[in-house]
């Protein structure tokens, strides 16, 4: 069985995929992944997941314009300039 190994480098950081080990069962996978990914104290923690348990998603429906719900869908520069001119104000100094 192939076990995917996810590794957390330091407390608070995300678990990132680090590789995989082939083992007959979870107990052997533990014993082996522990050394392959932690013998130098380089990992705060490991997650071991049988490959079968990992579901991948790579396809997305991308038919319509979704910019309304993203930052790159907004351009406020020119309207902001016009609003400041009307109010007779300048852009605030950088704090």
């Amino acid at each position: 069985m192939v076990f995917e190994v996810f590794r957390q480098e330091r407390k608070g950081q995300p678990f990132a995929h680090a590789g995989s080990v082939e083992a007959p069962d979870a107990a052997f996978a533990d014993a082996w992944a522990r050394e392959q990914y932690g013998r130098r104290g380089e990992s705060e923690a490991l997650w071991l997941v049988p490959r079968d348990a990992v579901h991948q998603i790579t396809e997305w429906a991308d038919e319509f314009d979704l910019k309304y719900r993203r930052v790159d869908g907004y351009s406020i520069k020119s309207r902001l300039k016009e609003a400041r001119e009307r109010a007779g104000t300048a852009a605030p100094e950088p704090g």
């Binding site: 080990v21 082939e22 083992a23 007959p24 107990a27 052997f28 014993a31 082996w32 522990r34 050394e35 392959q36 013998r39």
Partner: protein, 214 residues
């Protein structure tokens, strides 16, 4: 040499020589994953030996490397079990399994003993040994029904008894389910035949330039 130094050297020599034997598997263990894990065990054993030699070095006014490498073969106090050349997996795991059981009994006694410094070191070693035991148990369970393994355990049992002082042997026997009474233990003192060659190889480079730094 006082009794404490003798005891420290027996412990250190066991770990050094077993670590040396276990390091023979580097690159040729049954699977790559196991190869990496087994190498950590060998390194830990050498690390334990080093810590024990350092205590002995204070007693004997020398240094750890001199104790590890500069003695003559008959000055080593290791048990024959660790000296045997066992480059097949069944015997290797049988030895690991029996040694870990014996060592656990020995470490427990040291932790409860009067020698505070040695008790402290034994506790440290014990914490690292947790993973060695897990590993040995994992393999012993997997190979339980394999005749090669069972035969190897029986064959090495008299040697395993020889690792411990006589008063601790019944505890070991109870743990592994084998008999003390009907077994002639292979005692420390007379080295296994394989030891001379091991010592030669282990000290070859060092002897080529005595007294030098490396």
């Amino acid at each position: 040499m006082n009794a404490r130094a003798q005891q420290l050297l027996s412990l250190a020599d066991d770990e050094l020589i077993l670590g040396w034997r276990d390091s023979e598997w580097t690159g040729i263990a049954p699977t790559l994953e196991e190869d990496v894990a087994f190498s950590s065990i060998a390194q830990n054993e050498i690390g334990h030996a080093r810590a024990l030699y350092e205590l002995a070095a204070v007693e004997l006014d020398t240094d750890a490397d001199a104790l590890a490498f500069d003695r003559t073969p008959d000055e080593y106090r290791c048990a024959p079990l660790v000296q045997l050349h066992l480059l097949d997996w069944a015997h290797t795991i049988a030895r690991r399994y029996l040694y870990e059981e014996a060592d656990r009994v020995r470490i427990d006694a040291l932790k409860r003993g009067d020698d505070a410094e040695l008790a402290g070191l034994a506790a440290k070693i014990d914490r690292e040994e947790t993973y060695h035991r897990l590993h040995a148990e994992l393999w012993a369970a997997r190979l339980r029904d394999e005749p090669r393994f069972r035969d190897a355990v029986e064959e090495l049992w008299p040697y395993a008894l020889g690792v411990l002082e006589p008063e601790l042997r019944p505890v070991l026997a109870g743990r592994v389910g084998l008999s003390v009474e009907s077994t002639q233990a292979v005692e420390r003192g007379e080295h296994a035949e394989a030891f001379t060659q091991l010592h030669d190889e282990m000290t070859e480079v060092r002897r080529s330039a005595p007294g030098q730094q490396w």
